[in-house]
Amino acid sequence: MTPTERTDEDETGSAVTDKPEGPISAAIIAAGIGAAALGLFTTLAEASTTVKEWLQWNDDVGPLSGKTLLAVAVWLLAWAVLHATLRTRAVETRRALIIAVVLIGLGVIGTFPTFFQAFSPE
């Protein structure tokens, strides 16, 4: 049992051990980071022809290939780092959720056509 785990009783009287919330918070914040990364790459690809061409990792799919694969890579990397950092900590999910909602909001804005097309050089 780690220092952040707590033994309690459930509603039926059975002994149960609480797991730390750190890994949950890590996963939630990482999801927000992945969403924000997708928004960032989408807007950058629109703003810069160089970035758009670089993100074209597959000719058939176009720049969407690089944007999505890179966002997924950022998400997984962020998750791994945050998980390693928070895995034994009692980080409340409420704070993680607030951070994630803000980041997801940025991701939604970044992937919203009216927003990212405003950065188009054309």
């Binding site: 309690d8 459930d10 509603e11 039926t12 059975s14 149960v16 609480d18 797991k19 919330e21 890994p23 949950i24 996963a27 939630i28 990482a30 999801a31 992945g34 969403a35 997708l38 989408t42 597959n58 058939d60 799919v61 176009g62 969407l64 290939s65 944007k67 999505t68 966002a71 997924v72 998400w75 409340e92 999910t93 409420r94 959720l97 994630a100 997801i104 991701g107 939604v108 992937t111 919203f112 056509p113 009216t114 097309q117």
Partner: protein, 170 residues
Amino acid sequence: MSFTDREWWALIHGMVLGAFFLLAFAGGLAELYGLKPTLVTRAGVVAKMRRVKVGVTAMAVASWLTVITGTWIVYPWYREDVASSPRSELLANPDTADWHEFGMEWKEHIAWLSPILATTVAFVVVYYSTNLIRHDRVRRTALGLFVLAFAFAVVAGAFGAFITKIAPVQ
């Protein structure tokens, strides 16, 4: 009465996986919502937890399969640089250009938020398991993210259906 290979893949992407996704969401939502101490008995907790885990994991799998088939199989046909591709047809007519410039542009990006969030919820449920019954705050957080994952998929799915109605992949 037959479908081309492209139409089959569009069907698999939109209808088969879409139906699987809806089913998994409905099941996962109902089970996750019902994960309260007052609604769970000692005898039923094992079966209930199994159903919750299956529901949220199935939705994560369905959303990954949907975005992967959509982006890597159907989307290249949609955006082919030929006059008969759906993208070319939509852009050729000022009355339909917004279906690509707004609808498809939003759909192809926002859809990817759904599997990321659905996977997060699946992890939370599998990791925290029965702890979710006693920790309402965590359960509500998972529920909120689960609904958000569904909402993003709805945006993508709705635009996909509308665009397919106007300019189908053939």
